[in-house]
C-alpha cells in the first residue's frame, strides 16, 4: 500500500498546477469559443490529455490523473466537464473499437465531441433505444430524438447513439447537422446548457460510424466511464466548497470571535472534513484499481459515497457561509446544484446502489 505520491509523481502534479494557474477560475471563457480552444490547447500539452508522456514504472499514472482531474475540477468545473465529457470520455469508450481515419483524426485534433444518448423513457436502459439506423449501401439512414444533451453550444461534433438491428452503434455528426429542438440553461449552473436534438432521416456515411458494438458489457462500461469523470470531479468540488467554508469560518466574526469557535460551526466543518477525507481515499482507490471486478465495484462505492458527500458538504458550506454564500463571491451554491447533477448522471446514485447490492449478492456478474 502507498497512500501518498512519490517525488516523481509530485513533480508531474506540480507541473500541471503551473498550467492550471494560467487558466481562469470562472466560466467567462465560455462566451468565446476561441478562448476555449486556447485553453484546451494548453491542456493538450500536459499529461491531462497526453498520458503517453509517462513511461516510468515508478509513476502510477492513474493516481496522478485522479489528482490532476480533481484539481482541474476544483479550479474550473465548466472546463473540466467540457474537457472530460467532450474529449476524454469519447476516447475512453471508443478505445477498443475500430475507428475510421475520419473519426480518428477528429478525435486526435481535440475537437469537442458531445455524446447524445438519452431519450424519453430511456436513460440507463439503453436497450430501449428508439433512435434507429438502417443500412442503405454505403450509408446509414438515422432518425431519432435525443434529450438532455449537455453543452451542445461548445461542441464541434455530436456522438449519437443509435440502434442498428439488435446492436448499439455510434455516429459522429457535425454539430450543424443536428436540429436543436430546445435549449435550456442548467438550473443553478446557468452557463451550462442542456438541449434536445432531432435527427430526421439523416444519411450518414459508414466511415462516420463506430460499431455495431457487439460487446455485451458495453453499456456498463459506458456508464462506468461517466462515473469516472464524476468521481474525481466531485473531490475537486468538495475541496473547493470545504475551503470556502473553512476560510470564511475563520475570518468571519460574530459575538467577538471567529464563527469557527462555535461548536455548531466547528463541528460542521469537522464532519465535512471527515466526509472529504473518506471520499478522497475511496475516489483515489476507484480510479486506481486494475482488477476489473474490483474496479467496477469500487467505482459504484465511490459514485454513491462521493456524490452524496459532495451534496452534504456543499449544503453545510452554504449553512456556514450564510447569506454570503448566495453572492457571486462563493461557488458553494453552484456546487450544491452540481452535486445533484453529478448524482443523476452516469449510473445515478440510486441505480449505483442497486447495482452494488446486486454485485454483493452475486445477482450481477462482472
Amino acid at each position: 500500500m502507498r497512500f501518498d505520491f512519490n517525488e516523481k509523481e509530485r513533480k508531474i502534479i506540480e507541473d500541471f498546477s503551473y498550467i492550471l494557474n494560467q487558466i481562469p477560475g470562472d466560466g467567462s471563457f465560455l462566451y468565446n469559443k476561441a478562448n476555449l480552444s486556447d485553453i484546451i490547447n494548453k491542456l493538450s500539452k500536459t499529461i491531462y490529455f497526453d498520458t503517453r508522456k509517462i513511461v516510468d514504472e515508478e509513476i502510477n499514472l492513474n493516481s496522478i490523473l485522479f489528482k490532476i482531474k480533481s484539481d482541474l475540477c476544483s479550479k474550473n468545473f465548466y472546463l473540466y466537464l467540457i474537457a472530460e465529457l467532450g474529449i476524454n470520455f469519447i476516447r475512453n469508450i471508443l478505445e477498443d473499437q475500430n475507428l475510421s481515419d475520419y473519426i480518428s483524426s477528429i478525435m486526435n485534433s481535440k475537437n469537442i465531441i458531445i455524446p447524445a444518448y438519452v431519450e424519453d423513457n430511456m436513460n440507463f436502459h439503453l436497450k430501449e433505444i428508439t433512435t434507429t439506423a438502417i443500412l442503405n449501401g454505403d450509408y446509414y439512414i438515422v432518425s431519432g430524438t435525443k434529450k438532455n444533451v449537455l453543452f451542445l453550444d461548445w461542441a464541434d461534433y455530436v456522438l449519437l447513439l443509435a440502434k442498428y438491428e439488435d446492436n448499439l452503434i455510434f455516429f459522429i455528426l457535425n454539430k450543424d447537422e443536428v436540429e436543436i429542438k430546445s435549449r435550456e440553461n442548467l438550473y443553478g449552473i446557468d452557463l451550462l446548457t442542456i438541449s434536445e436534438i432531432l435527427i430526421k432521416e439523416k444519411k450518414i456515411p459508414k466511415d462516420r460510424c463506430v460499431g455495431p458494438i457487439l460487446d455485451k458489457n458495453f453499456l456498463d462500461n459506458f456508464f462506468y466511464s461517466i462515473n469516472r469523470i464524476l468521481i474525481p470531479g466531485s473531490i475537486g468540488l468538495m475541496q473547493k466548497s470545504f475551503e470556502e467554508a473553512r476560510v470564511f469560518a475563520k475570518q468571519h466574526k460574530n459575538g467577538g470571535k471567529p464563527i469557527i469557535a462555535y461548536q455548531e460551526v466547528g463541528f460542521k466543518l469537522a464532519e465535512m472534513k471527515t466526509l472529504l477525507d473518506a471520499s478522497y481515499l475511496i475516489a483515489a482507490k476507484a480510479m486506481n484499481t486494475e482488477n476489473k471486478k474490483q474496479s467496477y465495484e469500487t467505482n459504484l462505492v465511490a459514485k454513491v459515497f462521493c456524490l452524496e458527500s459532495l451534496e452534504n458538504i456543499a449544503s453545510s458550506a452554504l449553512s456556514i457561509l450564510s447569506t454570503y454564500g448566495f453572492t457571486d463571491k462563493y461557488l458553494s451554491g453552484n456546487i450544491l446544484m452540481l452535486s445533484k447533477f453529478f448524482q443523476v448522471n452516469g449510473t445515478s446514485t440510486e441505480v449505483s446502489r442497486v447495482n452494488l447490492g446486486d454485485l454483493c449478492l452475486g445477482y450481477k456478474k462482472i
Binding site: 502510477n60 463541528f267 469537522a270 486506481n288
Partner: protein, 380 residues
Amino acid sequence: MDFNLSKEQRMFKREVINFAKKEIVPRVREFEKKGEFDFESFRKLGEFGILGLHFPEYLGGGGADVLTTVIAAEALGEAGVDGGLTLSYGAHTFLCADTIFRHGTKEQVEKYLPKLITGEYIGCMGLSEPNAGSDVASMSTVAEKKGDRYVLNGTKMWITNGPIADVAVIYAKTDPSKKHEGISAFIVEKNTPGFSAGPPIEKMGVKTSQTSELIFNNCEIPEENLLGKEGEGFLMALETVEWDRSALLAPFVGATKYVLDRCIDYAKKRIQFDRPIGKFQAIKHKIADIKIFYETARLLTYKIAWCKDQGRPINHLEAAVAKLYVGDFSLKPTNDAMVLHGGNGYTHEFDIERVFRDGRLAPIGGGTSDIQKVIISRML
C-alpha cells in the same frame, strides 16, 4: 498511491480469519451471554502470535509492521470475534504493553513484555477517571514521591481488563499544580497493597471485556516503576492515539464485513412474497450502504497504520477523522443489518445485534466523537 494489500498480507489475513473461526468464534456466544472474559481464547490469541504481533522477535513478538497488525485486528472482527475480546486485546497490547515497550527501561521491557506477548500476563491502562473523561488533564489521581517510592491515591474509571489485569499502566499527577505537564505514567502490578479493582461494570456491549474502577488507596510502588520521566505521561497517552485510531478501530471495521457477509447470506435465503428478500431494491440498498461504509472505513484506518509505518509524526487531524468516521458512521450500517434480518436480527441467535451493541462503543471509548470534532475543528 496503491491501495492493494500485498499477497503476503492477504494470505496472513486469511490465516487469522481461519484461526479465529476455528478456535475463538465457536465460544463467543457462550461467553457473551455470561458476560465473562474468555481466558482460553485470550491465551489462544497469544499462542497464535496476535497479542505481540508488532513487537520485536527477541521479545517473543512477530516483528510485523503496523499495517499487518491492523489487518490482523480487522480479521478478528471479520471472522466474527466479539468486540469484547478484541477490546481486551487492544487495551492489553496497544495501550498497556506498547507503552511499556516504548517508554520502559530495558529491565521493565524484559520483565513484562515476554509475558504480555504470550498472554500469561494481562495488561490494562488507566487514564480516565470518574470526573475526568474527555478532559483527562483534570485528573485527580496523584502520585506523591516519598523517598524511593511513589504513593498513589485516586480512582480510575472504565478500565478495560481492570478486574483481571496482572499489570496496569496508570497515569497520575506527580505535580497536581499543573495540567498536562503534571501527568506521569507508572507500572502497577496486581496485588500491590493499596491497589484494588472494583467489580465488573455491566455494560450494553463488549460484554466479555471486563471493565471496572481501579482504586488506589495509599498504594506504594517502587520508583523504578515510573515509565519514562516525570511529566511525560500525557505525551505517552497521546502516542497511543494512532493505535487507538487504527488497531483498536480495525475490529469494528472488520465486524462490518462480518455483518455484511451475514446480510448477503440471509438476503439470499429468506423468502418473502415468493422471492428472496435480496431481490427487493430496498434490501440491495442496505447491503450497498454496509459495503460502502466498510470500504471507506478500512481505508481510513489503513492510512493511519501506513503513516505510522512510514515513521511519520502523529497526524492528529487524520487520526481524529478516522475515529469520528468509524464511530459515527458505523451506526447506520449495523442498524440496517439488524433491520434486514427482521425479527431474527433482534435475537441473540443471529449475532447481528451483538455487533450493533459492541459497535456503540466506537463513538465513546478512547475519546468521544464530539471530542474528535473539537480536535478537527481546532486543527483546520
